[in-house]
């Protein structure tokens, strides 16, 4: 069964953005909070290509189209993702309704069965559709679940960044995320993440996610999006490239798009 892992490709938009610029913000919690909200656009539609590459160079390509809409609380997203290819998952579609205070609601449409099925939300550390992104990477960590420390300031690709070390506040967060530590490089001008280094539960370097081709997709609210994101597993050398082929800020999306009824509309 093509199951529960696909949900949030459209959410890619959410994770990979920065926020409104501020001059100096030495408080790491404040930096991470701004980083969290920089991803929260009111609504969007996009098509995304995901390329999975093995250590020996063999590639698999998945294409999706999707929509996101920010809920009234300004934190949680509602999103639909539909697979366009490869053929065996074409029209598999997911509806994800995020909840800050409880497990997310997820439905999957399985075209072979002509059936919408409610499924259990994945563990945060689970792989996202077999990629090198975890489900937690895609929906983004909660700022309040982690301790944040400003390690230093530096430069990445010519841009000034804060280097923030984040460690889990408790064992639950540690085990559910699968990370013992994350170092984020966050741009000082717009608070976008440009790089994140992850360590596994044994303290070994685990993976690196890099964000490039940053664009200010909502100039009014200073929302930014990385059009290319790469996750590389340092232990297996497997990597996943996420490329936004198109992106449109779309705050007026109808609620009908975010329904199980819409999932069944094969394209």
């Amino acid at each position: 069964m093509k199951s529960k892992i696909l949900p949030a490709l459209a959410l890619g938009a959410a994770l990979f953005l920065p926020g409104s610029a501020s001059a100096e913000a030495p408080d790491p919690v404040e930096i991470m909070t701004k980083n969290f909200f920089v991803s929260k656009v009111s609504g969007s539609s996009q098509t995304v290509t995901m390329v999975l590459t093995t250590g020996s160079g063999e590639t698999r390509v998945r294409k999706t189209t999707g929509y996101t809409k920010l809920q009234k609380n300004g934190r949680d997203n509602t999103q639909v993702v539909r697979f366009l290819s490869p053929p065996d998952v074409k029209n598999v579609a997911n509806l994800l309704i995020q909840h800050s205070d409880r497990d997310d609601d997820i439905w999957i449409y399985l075209p072979a069965l002509k059936k919408v099925r409610k499924i259990v939300a994945s563990n945060k550390k689970d792989s996202f559709v077999g990629s090198d992104f975890s489900y937690g990477d895609v929906i983004g960590p909660k700022v309040e679940d982690w301790n944040h420390k400003l390690l230093k300031e530096g430069t990445v690709d010519g841009a000034k960044v804060y280097i923030i070390e984040s460690t889990p506040k408790n064992e639950d967060v540690r085990s559910s995320s699968g990370y013992s530590k994350v170092n984020y490089a966050i741009r000082q001008d717009c608070h976008a993440t440009v790089k994140a280094d992850y360590w596994d539960l044994g303290g070994r370097p685990f993976k690196t996610i890099t964000y490039s081709d940053l664009k200010e997709v909502d100039p009014v609210h200073h929302k930014w999006l990385a059009m290319k994101v790469q996750a590389k597993n340092l232990q297996t050398q497997h990597r996943t490239d996420l490329i936004f082929d198109s992106y449109k800020l779309d705050p007026g999306l109808k609620d009908d798009y975010f329904s199980t009824r819409y999932l069944e509309k094969e394209q």
Binding site: M1, S3, K4, I5, L52, T54, R60, V61, S85, P86, P87, D88, K90, D103, D105, W107, A112, L113, K114, K115, V116, R117, K118, I119, V120, A121, S122, N123, K125, D126, S127, V129, G130, S131, H238, D256, S259, T260, R261, E266, Q267
Partner: protein
């Protein structure tokens, strides 16, 4: 003689096609999408048939094509056709083709839509075994690796009205095709006849459903003909017929922590006017309830209880006439009524490997009383984004007079190569 009634839904849809303004094609509508073809070509080896015969070493090649098009924002059509060829080592060859689906979908407004034509309709939230899924017949003898591919399209006209999370669906089923099912070999000299219902278009179904909240659930009602046959006999002639049934159903699905819970039940009111030497049909309560949970990221375990309750059940062994008793046993297998209370379970364990390019699964079903079971291991590996190889097997076992045991001759293995586009 075939009536024209099955085509009525298409004629209905055509009326809208030729009235362009019917869709309110005004400001804000999108340009039509060109038809999008997709499909697959499969070829595979099967060690045996699913027809309770001794045919073995079969090669099956199949082409499946789909065409989808959104004509306007409010109108779209869908076509799915399949052609396949089956060869045995002895040289026997059969070829078939079918339109599995051919329908038009019309949105009358934002909350109402109508779908007309040959369709697949799937009802029920249990995993794989759905007592409320009564709209479509199946070809249970078809050599396909996925059980869902055994489902056949049905001509119908359906409409759904949405009220937020709530919806009401009504179906007018305009034709009847029986399921294709395996029958044990008949005694020499016996003849088989088949009686199809006279009023095929007099069938309908209704479903009220809620989805999109914490709990998904529905209640449904079906009034039509059973796709699986009952039997009667006279002399040496066995007659298969398809009795009228009225079925009230309900299902629900929700999450309890890390568990996904599902339940589905139906109560079937039988047509007791059916005469003959065999006892009258009995009403049946069917229940499927269970849960699934994921472990270690890629391991998923799904377990369900299966139950059937037949009030007024009469054991065929209580019939004094030996001929009638034998037919009653055969009938008990066909209509799956072997005890007043039947308990069983199903299980499915799946695991994904190598970034989900390799998928493995074992499915099993058993009925406790007879101890009969079906075990179906499956593995598929995506050689590329377009080519997939699949291996699998079905092992039936149990007493000859048990639901799964009598299909022991349908045990088989297969290997398939599939190209998708």
């Amino acid at each position: 003689m075939r009536s024209v009634l099955p085509w009525t839904p298409l004629a209905f849809a055509a009326a809208f096609v030729f009235v362009p303004d019917a869709w309110g094609d005004g400001e804000g509508s999108s340009p039509p999408d060109p038809p999008r073809p997709s499909g697959s070509i499969e070829s595979g080896y099967w060690s045996g048939s699913r027809n309770l015969d001794d045919r073995d070493n079969l090669w099956v090649t199949r082409f499946a094509g789909k065409l989808d098009s959104r004509v306007t924002d409010y109108f779209r059509f869908h076509l799915e056709a399949r052609v396949w060829n089956q060869n045995s080592m002895s040289g026997a060859q059969t070829s078939h083709g079918e339109f599995r689906e051919l329908w038009f979908n019309l949105e009358l407004d934002e909350s109402t839509e109508i779908r007309a034509g040959k369709q697949l309709v799937t009802w029920g939230r249990a995993d794989g075994l759905n007592p409320t899924d009564l709209i479509n017949p199946k070809d249970l003898t078809r050599l396909v690796s996925e059980e869902s591919d055994q489902k056949l399209g049905t001509w119908l006209l359906g409409g759904t009205r949405y009220f937020g999370h709530l919806s009401i669906t009504g179906l007018w089923i305009t034709d009847f095709e029986p399921s294709v099912f395996p029958l044990p070999p008949l005694a020499s000299g016996a003849a088989l006849a088949r009686e199809l219902p006279d009023h095929r278009a007099a069938q309908g179904a209704l479903k009220v459903e809620t989805t999109g909240g914490r709990l998904d659930a529905s209640i449904s009602y079906f009034d039509g003909y059973d796709h699986l046959p009952d039997l009667t006999f006279s002399g040496s002639t066995i007659t298969l017929f398809f009795p009228r049934i009225r079925v009230v159903g309900a299902d629900a699905a929700g999450n309890l922590g890390r568990f996904g819970a599902r339940a589905e039940a139906s109560y079937t009111f039988q047509d007791k006017s059916v005469g003959g030497p065999l006892p009258p049909r009995r009403n049946v309560l069917s229940v499927v309830a269970g849960a699934d949970r994921s472990f270690f990221e890629y391991l998923n375990v799904n377990v369900q209880y299966l139950g059937r309750y037949v009030p007024g059940f009469k054991d065929p062994d209580g019939i004094s006439d030996s001929t009638t008793r034998e037919f009653a046993h055969l009938r008990a297998l066909l209509i799956q009524e072997q005890a007043r209370i039947q308990n069983g379970m199903s299980a499915r364990v799946s695991y994904k490997w190598l970034h989900e390019t390799l998928e493995t699964e074992v499915r099993g079903v058993t009925w406790f009383k007879g101890g009969d079971y079906l075990l179906s291991p499956r593995a598929s590996y995506a050689l590329s984004d377009f080519v997939k190889v699949s291996l699998g097997a079905d092992f039936y076992n149990g007493p000859a007079r048990s639901i799964l045991g009598f299909q022991e001759r349908n045990s088989l293995g297969f290997a398939e190569l599939k190209y998708g586009f």
